[in-house]
């Protein structure tokens, strides 16, 4: 029975590899080919989330060196989040990529290979969620970098090649440093699977050495969450097509990094061992620096996608701030913001994608009065902007409140300072998100520039947007069950 765990990991990967062979599918066939597979996979993920399965050992190489998958609380949460987001994101991508193909005059094979890698990424991300031990997690972490690489380089012009090379260097380089902490955890590992509270034998190595490896791992795996100063790949990678920047660089890849850090901190080294050590403060410092840098740069940046990328950088570090508070409430806050931010950010990215593709505007000052042209899209954007800023009663407020209370709960001056940074960042968020919304609805002066002949977004584009906005609003009013479930999880 527990072999079912393999299905949502392997099925999309195999499906993607096979679909690379079909080069000449048109738009309709493509939909018929990919959508049922995606729905099937997401259904399996949901069903599995409600089952109670034994861990699955795929291969045992030596004592602790084994490949295993399992399902626990964070794995269920992360895999379900991915399963919910992937289908609408793919539907959006069908329309987006078709227009992009016309615009760049590429052939159908170009679009098909995009979806092949897109669906493969799904499998790898679920694999990362299901990983039961550090080695398996590392393997999926590397695989995630590699499988998303063709998506970043997909346009294949000079700019995207440059960005993709940077992407790969940062990703694999980060993993190379994460390798150091992987080795130490492997050697010092006591239990076979991740367990809340840590699995390492703390006496296997001298304390300072072990802490240093933790910092190496935090920075190395943190490259994926765009931790300062290793985050510039995220900004460069915004040259990729919007479905990639939205789903991968706001959700799957970067959240994968945050998920790995949650595993490493709470389920690997254990918070009791780390709390109050110098490594703890180093990580906190890096996280705060990222928040300051990301929020400030987002205000300065005028390119729409890059602005959102900086905002992602800051928001991921909110998640890490929750991780850094190293308490049960902190874990709950981190997971909560991980999920909520996914919905808010993917929605904003997709709205911006519509503006950029259908209206040909890519800078903030070009967006004056765009609310009249795309009323619904900008309404969706405004909702996610308000939520991201943390205006009550939207979901952003709930997760941010939890993070702040986790920080205050530690009763430590350094964490009070972190709360200050947090507040500053919320202020910046209000500026960079809402200034755009204001320009869209209340233009300072009439926009006389004539842009591309606008093509109205079709259902495939605004449907997913409406769905995300609906989810944001529903979650805003019914988040109690989720919060309670997470609190139960964080209690052990």
């Amino acid at each position: 029975m527990n072999y079912l765990l393999l299905f949502p990991v392997l099925f999309p990967v195999i499906y993607g590899v096979v679909s690379l062979r079909f080069k000449n599918m048109d738009r309709r066939k493509r939909k018929l080919f990919f959508l049922p597979a995606l729905c099937l996979n997401s259904t399996v993920v949901f069903v599995l989330a409600f089952l109670d399965l034994e861990p699955l050992d795929l291969a045992v190489f030596a004592n602790h060196i084994r490949l295993s998958l399992f399902l626990d609380g964070p794995a269920r949460l992360f895999s379900c989040m991915v399963a919910v987001l992937w289908i609408p994101a793919t539907i959006y991508a069908f329309s987006y990529m078709e227009h992009e193909r016309e615009h760049l005059s590429k052939d159908a094979g170009w679009v098909n290979s995009f979806f092949a890698f897109y669906i493969m990424t799904y499998g790898v991300t679920v694999g990362l969620a299901y990983s039961a031990n550090p080695l398996t997690m590392y393997i999926f972490f590397e695989a995630l970098s590699l499988v998303t690489f063709p998506l970043v380089i997909h346009i294949r012009d000079h700019k995207s090649i440059k960005a993709a090379r940077k992407y790969l260097k940062y990703m694999l380089g980060g993993a190379a440093f994460g390798f150091i902490s992987l080795i130490c955890v492997l050697i010092a590992q006591e239990g076979e699977y991740f367990a809340f509270g840590g699995i390492i034998d703390v006496n296997a190595f001298p304390r300072n050495l072990l802490l240093f490896t933790f910092v190496c791992g935090f920075c190395g795996f943190g490259v994926k969450t765009a931790l300062f100063p290793f985050g510039s790949w995220l900004i460069s990678a915004s040259v990729a097509v919007t479905p990639v920047t939205a789903l991968l660089h706001a959700v799957a890849v970067v959240k994968g990094g945050a998920f790995v850090l949650i595993r490493l901190t709470y389920y690997g080294y254990g918070t009791d061992y780390l709390k109050g050590s110098w490594a703890h403060y180093v990580c906190l410092f890096l996280v705060c620096a990222t928040i300051l840098y990301g929020s400030t740069m987002a205000v300065r940046e005028t390119h729409l996608k890059r602005r959102l990328a900086y905002s992602t950088m800051a928001n991921l570090s909110y998640v890490l701030l929750g991780v850094c508070s190293m308490s049960g409430l902190g874990l709950c806050a981190a997971l909560l913001h991980m999920v909520y931010h996914a919905f808010m950010k993917i929605n904003s990215f997709f709205c911006v994608g519509v503006v950029m593709q259908r209206e040909g505007r890519s800078f903030v000052d070009e967006c004056n009065g765009i609310g009249k042209r795309l009323p619904w899209v900008m309404a969706f954007f405004t909702v996610s902007g308000l939520a991201l800023t943390g205006i009550p009663p939207f979901i952003g407020f709930i997760s941010k409140w939890t993070i702040a209370s986790a920080l205050v709960e530690t009763a430590n001056p350094a964490f009070y300072a972190a709360v200050g940074v947090f507040m500053y960042s919320a202020f910046c968020t209000a500026i960079y998100m809402l200034s755009l919304a204001t320009r869209a609805w209340f233009p300072p002066k009439a926009n006389t520039v004539v842009y591309l002949e606008a093509r109205k977004p079709d259902f495939e584009m605004w449907g997913p947007l409406a769905f995300f906005t609906l989810v944001i609003i529903i979650l805003s009013f019914t988040s109690t069950p989720l919060v309670n479930a997470l609190m139960a999880l964080a209690a052990g």
């Binding site: 190489f61 030596a62 294949r156 790969l168 150091i180 190395g220």
Partner: protein
Amino acid sequence: MEFIKNFPFFSIMVAMLGAVVCSVLKGRAAKYVSFFATGVIFLLSLSTLVYTCVTESSFVYWMGHFPAPWGNEIRAGQTECMTATAFSFIILLIIVGGARYTERATDRSKQNYFYILTGLLTGALLALVYTNDLFTAYVFIEINTIAACGFIMIRRTGKSIASAIQYMTMSLLGSGLVLIGITLLYTITGHLLMENIHDSIKALGASGEYRVPLLVVIGLITVGLAIKSGLYPFHMWIPDAYSHSFPTSSALLSGLASKGYIFLLIKIYYRVIGVDSILGSHVLTIVFICGLIAMLMGSVHALGQNDIRRMCAFCSVSHIGYIFMCIGLGTEAGMSAALLHLYMHAFTKPMLFLAMAGIASVSPKHELSAEQKEEAKKDPLSLESQSGEGVFTATTIELDAFDSYKYKDIKGAGKRNPFAAFTFLVGSFSMVGIPLFAGFSSKLYIAMAATGTESGIKFWAVMLTLALSTILMVGYFFRVVIRLYQDSDLALVEKRNRPEYIFSLSLFIAANVFIGLFSGYIIQILESGIKMFG
């Protein structure tokens, strides 16, 4: 079952006999004889490996049944048999997969020369692996050198001869040092068989005599073999030798020629001098440091290349550094990690060189101008202009003109020759250390071996250098991979790979994944083999 004990001896003899037979045959017949001989050797080695693994024993074989000190001995344990099996398998795959390139690069009437050299190389490698006698080891070191030299020179262009001379010079320097080392050892102990020397050295260590001469011996042998296998400060011959010979010989040279010396070095450390005296002498620390520097410097040089063969050659420098660094750790775990990395490199580098040949065969052709051809004919280094075989010279130069390995020319080769490009991709993954490929498992065991060392400095040095060198390798390997899959303006020419090329490269890929997945078993065998060394 006792009969199996003859197999190591047989396999050396089959290799040598194959070489002798090839010398009187024409090209095509020589090719099949060579394939057959190598296949037989592989089966013989494999059955010995199975025998030693099942009985968990090692045995000493007296050649001609003369006891020591008159007779010549062979020792076969799990480590030796595993290495012999891997080496013979790789040689088989290379000569089968590269057969087309051998045909193209050598004159038809002289194709058997290549297979003579292959036989010599196989015999020498097996003898280096199995020998229990230092003098035999020395003899086969020389045979190995001569065969390798022949591989570089067989192409007979000016550059290949120049690099062969460079190789010869460095290699002879190395063998000279080894010879002096062996001579000193003989004068101190009066023995040439490994076990006898080991006993006398133990006695000498207890009495405290000959401290300095022993240190000198260790130093000379280590430096000699390090030069021959291309450890960092002595790596100058590697890039020229690998990039100016034709694909099949580059594959043999990079994958195997230097690996026999490394195995011999480990064997000498364990079976002749003894780990304790080695550790006491601090030679290992120097080996360790040189290995670390090689890991980084090889990659740094590779970053600056614009030719994929030279890039891979410098990558070899870096991987030789990995192996020596592991030896320098001085623990049993370190030695088995070194051997695992040796296998991984021996399986991956030839695959890369053959894949690059496939990639280069679809790159745009650069014809030499008439003047350049004229100049090449007048090249004083070219043997042909002296012996007057003008036709052959022309074909060789034509080949030079055809296959371009430059970065600018391989753009888009992934579409023109998908199979070769895919193989290159797998090879790069393995080299960089992507999980589930051979390179990752060897890296994993290297790092785990590093945690077993006493000193924290060594641990951190290994960890940080591993991380840095991985980043550097990502830099240069993926630069090429991206280039391979870029769009290019060249017309798509349908490129059909020969079936034997596809067969051999597929087996290489399978072997890579096999090592990546089942390295645990290999390490188990290696560790129990190394325990029996002492």
